[in-house]
Amino acid sequence: MDTVDTNYNASATSDASSPAAIVLDQVHLTLEGPAGPVNILRGVDLNVSSGTALGVVGPSGSGKTTMLMIIAGLERISSGHVEVAGTDFAPLDEDALALFRRDAVGIVFQSFHLIPTMNALENVTVPLEFAGSRDAFDRAEDQLKAVGLGHRLDHYPGQLSGGEQQRVALARAFAVKPKILLADEPTGNLDGVTGQQIIDLLFELHDKSNTTLMLITHDFNLAQRCDRVVRIADGLIVGEGLSESPVVTGR
């Protein structure tokens, strides 16, 4: 079945030789909209070194999520250069990018995106199974215990609260020990206290695993917890740090 198994490692450079975990070089993305081409990203340059926690802030529609999708290999750029975890995306096809994600990237979404027909344990097991892990279930269970859900293994997403679902999503994202963790407003659907717990957990896991974290957020306090913050507006990175007050959208 795996006829599309283009090995992305063939083009990967050694992890150790490159201190940069994420490199975006003049990244442009133009999409065809109903009213003609829309420039989503207009030349983004970004260099994130390994192990960094990067906060990304900016108004709605500024291109934050698009940038995250590009780094995850879920969106192809129109021009420019992308290198993540030492892997150049240019020669990779869709399936090679999927295998790259499987081995190197974990993603957490605002809307959790768990598979509703699988219980918590199975949801966390899926990426491990795709990676061919022999002890997938044990590792998944450990990971769920690590996020405090050892007692909810058999529960289906529909039987879990929002906070619990997001913890399952976190466990799933960290299960394969990714080099890069991408989080798109992970607390957006959660109340304040629950959101705080998730963020604590996120940073705890980041600290323990030395993963490179990219966190998209509207939350000023949350962004402050990151090692580094970039501001994005209208498809461009417009600044670094929180010296100017972060743009707070109406959400």
Partner: protein, 851 residues
């Protein structure tokens, strides 16, 4: 009824969005309604055609059916007092060609009809080349003329002007019969038509006492008397006459019965299509209402009572159902017109095309009841959606039952549907079988579907399950049992359609097998009919001297009719429909000193070989049961005007399937001593010897008729093949509905598939992985559906074959079941992959963005 206009307004407002989501809903209703409306209209149009052509079809205003001997002069005179009479004599015989030396070249079985000059009284007989019938059949240069069926030309390789021989008579072929007005479809036709003048009949020397001959007298009334008056007069003047008088309403009873059976079958197929389609209707309604959950919750928040919500959607769905029914009615009403162009010449009757309101009404009721049955359940549940649902992020379908009053209503509608099916059927008993069968099958399929879902759930639960380490397989299995999974509806609808097809195909293959191979080794290879008593000895000598002959059996055959059972006139005896033939009309009877083979004595005793004294009779045990007699009762038969009463000595369980000769009524030899009859003989002979035996016998006795079993079976096989194809094609209509439901289920799962493929891709699944998951899902669904359908269809076929058709040797055509199974998997896979392909091509990113 203040709420009604409001509900109506809302219902229409909601429909402004268009009917795109309702294509499957409409199609599911329309297909079934089309089938029922079409079948019923076709039947009506043929019946109207028959009624319009009743006189030509019957051959007169009245027809007197007079057994195997002509009516007396007084009777004929009485007929002629009412109008013009045209007698005809029909019998089966052989036609042959001879070479100059008088040796037969070709021989074939024919149906001979000898007519009087007045024939036909109604309608037009068309000949090719065109000429008056009188000329075609007249005696010219000492040779009688003959008009033949076109097929006989090829069989005997003769043409116009050539001479053929029937019995002892040479006949010159003058014309081909193109249209014979009083010949309706005769599926039991054994040979091609040969028509001669009644005056030519004696020269054939085929008419001898006891020969199998049918005399009929058609009467065209002059104005002096109505048919009823004449009937009354004949009954009064000839109270003991054994003839049967048929009027215009019985012009083509055989054809009408055949049409009724076809219509019943088509209606049941249409109903199956409706029932399978009903699942699609329910699915469509559920999907529609699921999409309206927020609207419903909002309406309730704004103060709409649950009943208003219910009526809004009821009105909407009722409107849509009637659109579907209307489509079906329009299509169904045009079927007779289409059939006219395609079937035109195949059928003997001109269908009278038109709109048949009763047919359309019937289809409308079926469509409306089915739509109501399958709409109410999801609708009644939607009624109870709590307004609070609006404030929850996810509306979960908890699958609770509708309220009791709706459950009762649904039960009533189901009962009404069942009763209407039975009440409107031409054969209520069969319709009852169908309804029970459908109910049991639906239940079985439901149980089976639940079983599949439980099994799938078990297979995926736990880390030691077979799916550990195979996330695509787990996903595929999980999709079979998740809430709202298509498993139940696909198993039910596609499974039902498929099992009908499996059952029909298996019944057909069993019938085929029974015909082609199922003949027991001891079955005879040929029958000789109409051997005259003085020829019996000669016949035996000829046949036993032939090489290859293994066994020769001869029995006396006497034509007679049952006139009384225990002093009750035969027409007043209560008889179960299955055995009516045994006490109505003329039958072949026999006498024997020793009990013939292939029967088992069930009651009473067989008489001594030299029995003398009271007349005794042994009868078929099934007939005995159906006419309600026991051993010791008496039966009176009329043989050529002479009444013979015999006491029932025994019942026999006859193995009719053995293909050997046997008789329903066998008398002790003393009872029929002196009764005029012929001999019937069966001959068992080695393969390839039949023609020589036939030739030897027929050269010596041209009056004898031969039926080659092999040929007769081939002919039956041919008819069966043609019918079988038609039956299978019609049954496929039910399958189309099933496929529609499948397509609907696949379409309904589209959003889910996209979502799953996106999430899987995020987690590092390649397109191959995703494809594998969906292919597995549909393959498993196909395997489960196919297996269940194969099992249920096989059980159904087994029941029909062994219980109704009473074919002893049931055989399971594995390759056929396997073919159906593979096709089912192929179809589900195709549907699944088509749907998946579109999902695969979807970009992930847009689905992952925050709301």
């Amino acid at each position: 009824m203040q709420g009604l206009p409001l509900s109506l307004r809302f219902a229409f407002r909601e429909l402004r969005g268009g009917m795109r989501g309702f294509r499957i809903f409409l199609a599911c209703i329309a297909i079934g309604v089309t089938a029922i409306a079409g079948a019923t209209s076709l039947n009506e149009s043929f019946k109207a055609g028959i009624a319009a052509d009743a006189r030509p079809l019957l051959g007169g205003d009245l027809q007197i059916d007079a057994d195997s001997y002509p009516i007396g002069d007084a009777q004929r005179a009485s007929l002629e007092a009412g109008g013009t009479v045209s007698a005809q004599v029909q019998l089966r015989s052989m036609a042959r060609t001879e070479n100059a030396g008088g040796e037969a070249i070709n021989r074939t079985l024919i149906e001979l009809k000898a007519v009087e000059e007045t024939y036909p009284l109604y309608g037009v007989l068309e000949l090719e080349p065109s000429m008056p019938l009188r000329d075609a059949l007249a005696r010219k240069d000492d040779v009688w003329g003959v008009a033949i069926d076109d097929s006989l030309r090829a069989r005997l390789s003769v043409d116009i002007g050539d001479t053929i021989y029937v019995g002892e008579a040479p006949l010159q072929v003058r014309a081909v019969v193109v249209v014979e007005p009083d010949r309706a479809v005769r599926f039991a036709t054994i040979g091609p038509r040969v028509m001669i003048s009644r005056d030519a009949l004696p020269s054939t020397e085929l008419v001898q006492t006891g020969s199998l001959i049918e005399y009929t007298y058609n009467v065209r009334l002059d104005k002096s008397e109505t048919a009823e008056e004449m009937r009354g007069r004949l009954d009064r003047d000839f109270p003991t006459a054994t003839w049967r008088i048929r009027g215009l309403n019985q012009a083509s009873q055989g054809l009408e019965r055949f049409l009724d059976n076809v219509t019943l079958f088509l209606t049941l197929v249409g109903l199956t299509a409706l029932l399978t389609g009903g699942i699609g209707v329910a699915n469509a309604v559920r999907a529609h209402l699921l999409g309206r959950l927020h609207t419903i919750a909002t309406l309730k928040c704004l103060g709409a009572p649950a009943d208003t919500v219910f009526s809004i959607y009821l009105i909407q769905l009722a409107l849509l159902a009637f659109v579907g029914i209307a489509i079906g009615l329009v299509l169904g009403a045009t079927i007779p017109f289409i059939a006219a162009n395609t079937l035109g010449d195949l059928l003997p009757v001109k269908a009278e095309f038109g709109l048949y309101p009763s047919a359309l009404f019937k289809a409308t009721v079926f469509g409306a009841l089915t739509a109501a049955l399958f709409t109410l359940w999801p609708l009644a549940r939607a009624r109870d959606i709590p307004p609070a649902a609006l404030f929850r992020s996810l509306l979960v379908d908890k699958g609770q039952l509708p309220r009791r009053k709706y459950l009762i209503l649904i039960g009533l509608i189901a009962t009404a549907l069942a009763m209407f099916t039975i009440a409107t059927a031409e054969r209520p008993l069969y319709a009852f079988y169908f309804v029970s069968g459908a109910a049991v099958s639906m239940m079985l399929f439901h149980v089976a579907a639940t079983g599949v879902m439980k099994f799938a759930a078990r297979m995926t639960s736990g880390r030691n399950s077979p799916t550990a380490g195979r996330p695509t397989l787990r996903l595929a299995l999980a999709n079979l049992y998740r809430p709202g999974s298509p498993t139940t509806s696909v198993v039910l609808s596609l499974g039902l359609g498929l099992s009908v097809l499996v059952a029909i195909a298996l019944v057909e293959s069993n019938l085929n097998a029974a015909i082609s191979e199922g003949l027991p080794a001891d079955a005879p290879s040929m029958f000789f009919v109409d051997i005259q008593p003085h020829q019996e000895e000669q016949f035996r000598q000829i046949v036993t001297s032939m090489p290859g002959v293994e066994k020769v059996l001869t029995s006396a055959m006497i034509r007679g009719r049952v006139v009384r059972v225990n002093d009750v006139p035969a027409n007043q005896v209560k008889v179960a429909p299955g055995s009516r033939w045994a006490v109505r009309g003329e039958r072949s009877m026999s006498h024997a000193a020793v009990m013939p083979e292939n029967a088992r004595l069930t009651h009473g005793e067989w008489w001594a070989a030299d029995h003398d004294g009271e007349n005794m009779v042994s009868i078929d045990v099934e007939v005995a049961r159906d006419i309600g007699v026991s051993v010791g009762d008496t039966i009176t038969v009329n043989i050529l005007g002479r009444e013979i009463t015999a006491r029932i000595a025994s019942f026999r369980d006859i193995r009719w399937q053995s293909g050997t000769m046997n008789f329903t009524y066998i008398f002790s030899p003393n009872a029929l001593a002196g009764a005029p009859g012929t001999y019937l003989s069966t001959v068992n002979s080695g393969p390839g010897t039949e023609l020589a035996i036939e030739t030897a016998v027929l050269n010596a006795m041209p009056n004898v008729t031969v039926i080659q079993v092999r040929q007769a079976l081939d002919m039956a096989q041919g008819i069966l093949d043609t019918l079988g194809l038609a039956v299978r094609m019609t049954a496929a209509v039910a399958l189309v509905s099933g496929a529609l439901v499948l397509a609907g289920a696949v379409a309904a799962g589209h959003a889910r598939r996209i979502y799953e493929s996106v999430v899987l891709k995020v987690l590092g699944a390649t397109r191959g992985d995703v494809l594998k998951a969906f292919i597995l899902e549909y393959m498993l669904l196909g395997i489960a559906t196919g297996l269940i359908a194969a099992v249920i269809g096989t059980i159904g076929a087994w029941g029909v074959v062994t219980e109704i058709m009473k074919i002893i040797e049931w055989r399971l055509d594995y390759s056929l079941v396997l073919t159906v199974l593979t096709s089912c998997i192929a179809v589900t896979l195709l549907a699944g992959v088509t749907g998946t392909w579109r999902a695969m091509g979807t970009k992930a990113a847009p689905y992952l963005r925050n709301e």
